[in-house]
């Protein structure tokens, strides 16, 4: 069972690992369980606490811990790793069918040769996407979440170490196609990039606000199809900014290449920041 999230118990597999991914049930020396400051408020035998319904043997224990605390610790460890290796990690999220994988294969194809690129592919099943990415020339590893609906920081930590990336790499993490659950799970990325294609509804930012709030960049994909669909780009951008006033927006078509330069520019800028270590989040943990 995954101790980070348990989502799809025993179903998670990382390509290249023969065993099912039993997440550190015992013996592993992740020592983050300590120092959480649980403190015991033992009111003896009495029912001193307001909640206590008067049962003599019960007592109250104050926990004050984030439910996702464990995931956040793994995410901090990933973030530290990325920072130490001058790597830019981006968490790509969207609904199924928004064109994430095509955008990635095109991105890999047009990225400057001197920039090492790697991809972590998250899907419930199959290694089809990782195969597609590898064909385009980047290192890729597939994580199958089994029944799970999102990637978590623990899976990503393992996949990153498997990839053995060079300093200054750009790492794209393609999350499971889902606009709900991945919003809550920090993977240690520098930014979440939400991709919305014009064949979807323009009001998605309002319908799935958590994700659009968590993202730093929104990509409006498949703009070559705009003449054929009823998609109001301006309204979509307005909705996204209502949810997240600071969100950056890039319109592009991975198929025709229109707008790709802006996306590459955004990556380049963030990669420079990652390399110089200007942005070192998670250092204080």
């Amino acid at each position: 069972m995954c101790t980070v999230c348990g989502c799809g118990e025993g179903e998670t597999t990382i390509e290249g690992h023969k065993h099912h991914h039993h997440h550190h049930e015992e013996g592993h020396s992740h020592s983050h369980a300590d120092g959480h400051g649980d403190h015991n408020h033992d009111y003896g035998q009495g029912a001193a606490h307001a909640h206590t319904p008067g049962l003599s043997q019960t007592r109250m224990v104050q926990i004050e811990q984030d439910i996702l605390g464990k995931n956040n610790q793994y995410a901090d460890a990933n973030r530290r790793y990325f920072s130490e290796h001058g790597m830019l990690a981006l968490n790509l999220v969207s609904s199924p069918g928004s064109g994430k994988t095509t955008l990635l294969t095109e991105t890999v194809r047009v990225m400057p040769e001197q920039t090492p690129v790697a991809v972590i592919e998250g899907d419930q099943q199959t290694a089809l996407d990782a195969d597609r990415i590898r064909k385009s020339g980047a290192k890729a590893v597939q994580i199958n979440t089994g029944k799970g609906c999102h990637l978590d920081a623990h899976m990503v930590g393992h996949a990153v170490r498997d990839l053995k990336l060079q300093h200054g790499s750009a790492l794209f993490i393609e999350n499971v196609g889902n606009l709900v659950c991945p919003a809550a799970f920090d993977l240690g990325e520098a930014a979440k990039v939400v991709i919305l294609s014009v064949t979807e509804g323009a009001d998605k930012p309002l319908k799935y606000p958590d994700m659009f709030h968590a993202a730093s960049l929104m990509i409006v994909n498949k703009i070559d199809l705009l003449p054929y669909v009823d998609f109001d780009v301006a309204a979509c951008c307005d909705y996204a900014r209502r949810i997240n006033p600071g969100i950056r927006i890039i319109q592009l078509s991975a198929t025709t290449g229109e707008g790709m330069e802006a996306w590459l520019g955004w990556i380049r800028a963030h990669l420079e920041i990652a390399k110089t270590g200007v942005n070192v989040p998670g250092e204080n943990s």
């Binding site: 101790t3 999230c5 989502c7 118990e9 909640h51 004050e64 984030d66 709900v180 606000p209 949810i243």
Partner: protein, 113 residues
Amino acid sequence: MHEISLCESLLKVIEDSASKQNFSQVKTVWLELGRFSCVEPDAMRFSFDVVMKGTLVDGAKLELLELPARVWCQICLKDVEIQQRYDACPCCGDYRLQISGGEEMRIKELEVM
């Protein structure tokens, strides 16, 4: 769908705490959930019962405390409460709001024996 994951995570925290705090059964669990915490209370209750079966939390009561969503309005220069992420400031109608509370998912305390 990820409420199952959250419950498994919750169970792990409780198990860690049980060995440190020396308890073997949990009677009540208090969770603080912000209004914007991506948790559906009904799904959480359902998952809680399923995940806790056969553990030291089996049969425990789950108490959910909802925390309001608070945002800082850059126009009014004050904290206001909203209901949805897409809401405008109730005082001035502007959307330039910065969330200051409401994303919590915290285990508050346990009643144990």
